[in-house]
Amino acid sequence: MTSTAPMLDVLEGFIQELRTAGLPVSLTENLDAMEAVQHIPMEDREAFKYALAATLVKNHAHWKAFETVFEVYFSLRRPGPGEDSDLAAELDAANLKPDESGAAGGGSMDSLSPEELAEMLYRALLNADEATMQALARQAVTRFAGMEPGRPVGGTYYLYRTLRNLDLDGVLERLMEASREQAGGELTNLEERLERDEYQERMAKLRQEIEAEIRRRLVADRGPEAMARTLRKPLPEDVDFMHASRDEMATLRRTIQPLARKLAVRLARKRRHGRKGPLDFRNTMRHSLSYGGVPAEPKFRYPRPAKPEIIVVADISGSVAAFARFTLMFVYAIASQFSRVRAFVFIDGIDEVTRFFEGTEDVNQAVHRVNTEADVIWVDGHSDYGHAFQVFWDKWGPEVSPKSSVILLGDARNNYHSSQAWIVKELRQRARHVYWLNPEPRSYWDTGDSIVSEYGVHCDGVYECRNLRQLERFVEQLG
């Protein structure tokens, strides 16, 4: 183990990077981490990682960010023979001789033909042979990634190149074939699925190994600080809806349920608390008995205020579709907190989509149907807020009541059609509240064909709603 002083230096840089990545690490937590590492030896990598996490990361959503930074800062400081040598030497060691744990592969891996390598990969995956898989990951990176020192390319590029050469899909089919043969021809559907899941998990592990290997080499080349900077990603609650990648969107979707549950509890509590009704005479008398008949503890009736009705009117044209989908999912996930939720979607035509959500518990399914079945095209399929609002007003306007809160979603990019802003004004008079959520950054508002202010003046509030954090804050004040 290295002496403590450099260790603390590394830790300091590490914590600094965590803060830059957006994790709220307080001074106390910093000190705790310093103390924690005195007790857990760094050789025990897993325990060491969890010790740092336990003191520094107090929100599970931040785990991924923590893990990435941890990998970058501590991946090279692995226990082993190369520890004291400088980084370049370690890189060489990693390149040339497979780790002692990969002895199965032996030092001869370099001389294998591509076919032999593929065969070896297949065997390793079939037998879940982790040591060989590690060695293979290393070998694959050396062979296929084509890494050049100092080249300003992100890790994803190398990962892609390596994976493309390994043809994992093909290997998966081969593995499945082998399973089928072993079972004597056919697998039942259940078995088929279980086998596939198993192999996919093994491949995910291999992929992680490769990723880690690439990262290790990049860190050796560029140093941890630079590497951490390239890998920095927004925390889940800060991911921009409009620019979320598919992976990020999937992560967001997974967070909906827990978040909705949390929010529902908060809304329910908020409704119950902070409102005192008239004196509850009976209850007060009953409690006075324990004070010898003195009504020392007055009890009050708690009113149960009516839940609001929510009407969501969402633009689902290309640019803001992801945002609209997400908001719909979210609103329906906490539908129990509202007396009723009605949903309308539009592009230049408008359609009510409440029917897709009613009678099903599967919100994802419903949103999918909204995308495929809703009738939202009137002329050319370019957003026309004016026309959509006009139709909404004519058809459903009378159903808007003082109990309903209307939420309008969209970037108000109206393609220079007429705005019909008077409808929003009328709506506000009829409804309890009218809000506008805009997924664009505030600085883009009213630029080009965006006319959000024209509508905004008639709303109770116009909110920038680019990420989960902002959406959550908005929904909370609805209850």
Binding site: P24, S26, T28, E29, D32, E35, A36, H39, I40, D44, E46, A47, F48, Y50, A51, A53, A54, T55, V57, K58, H60, W63, T188, N189, L190, E192, R193, L194, R196, D197, E198, E201, R253, R254, Q257, P258, R261, K262, V265, R266, R269, H273, T360, E361, D362, N364
Partner: protein, 297 residues
Amino acid sequence: MTATNTEPRFESVPAVRDGLASVRYLADEGIAGVVYLADRLQKPVLVEGPAGTGKTELAKAVAQLTGSRLIRLQCYEGLDESKALYEWNYKKQLLRIQVERNEEEKATWTDIEEDIFAEEFLLTRPLLEAIRAAEPVVLLIDEVDRVEVETEALLLEILSDYQVSIPELGTVTATQVPLVFLTSNNTRELSEALKRRCLYLHLDYPDLAREKEIVLARVPGITENLADQIARVVRSIRQLELKKAPSVSETLDWARTLLLLGATEIDESQATETLHILLKYQSDIQKAAKELSAAAS
């Protein structure tokens, strides 16, 4: 730290792990590491994670392992000082005053006050009890996310200094540092102040190997083969997008059911018929049944 230092309970991280395994709690590196650290740093552990992943069980297992008494405070909305910390036994105090009045008229107010605010009239509640215990204790504060934010403040003094201030008696300091576990189902964000004082442990669903071990350890009489299959089916189900993924305790229930039904292998029809033990929402059950029996795409 004001509390007197006690001997560390655990030797090393692997020791914690083996110890927990001996009381049939299968910990992974993370769990063992955090428990070990909690003991060394004398800090409480905040355990968060989906329902049914063994949060409460962890505290029980640690108590059993260290031979400590488990003191449990179940949190709920409206929990207050008198239920969590201490309360004056006012009925007894009233009686005492009555008696005093009957004996002689001359007792002064100070006498009475000293009399009635003595240990004798103190009703200890879980938190105070944990602090005053002479023997080693494990304090479990269960579902701490259920109390209001304001009530959370009650816990802060105890969690950082292991002491309780009672205005009439003074400050009660712990003679031994209890191991404290707080569990949360994450129904609301806990305050920064509370989080800062705790080590954080997120308990997630276990991986395949660990889940299998858990089934083997917890369901006597189950075969290795069946346990393996159970773990694999559960893993596949957890990968679906469900309202509520099956928890470890539901896995165990399912394993017991299958055992009772005399199953040695899981086939499709059996899996589909018993799905309602794993999943609690109709839509989830339908979805899982469909996915499990559908031909792989």
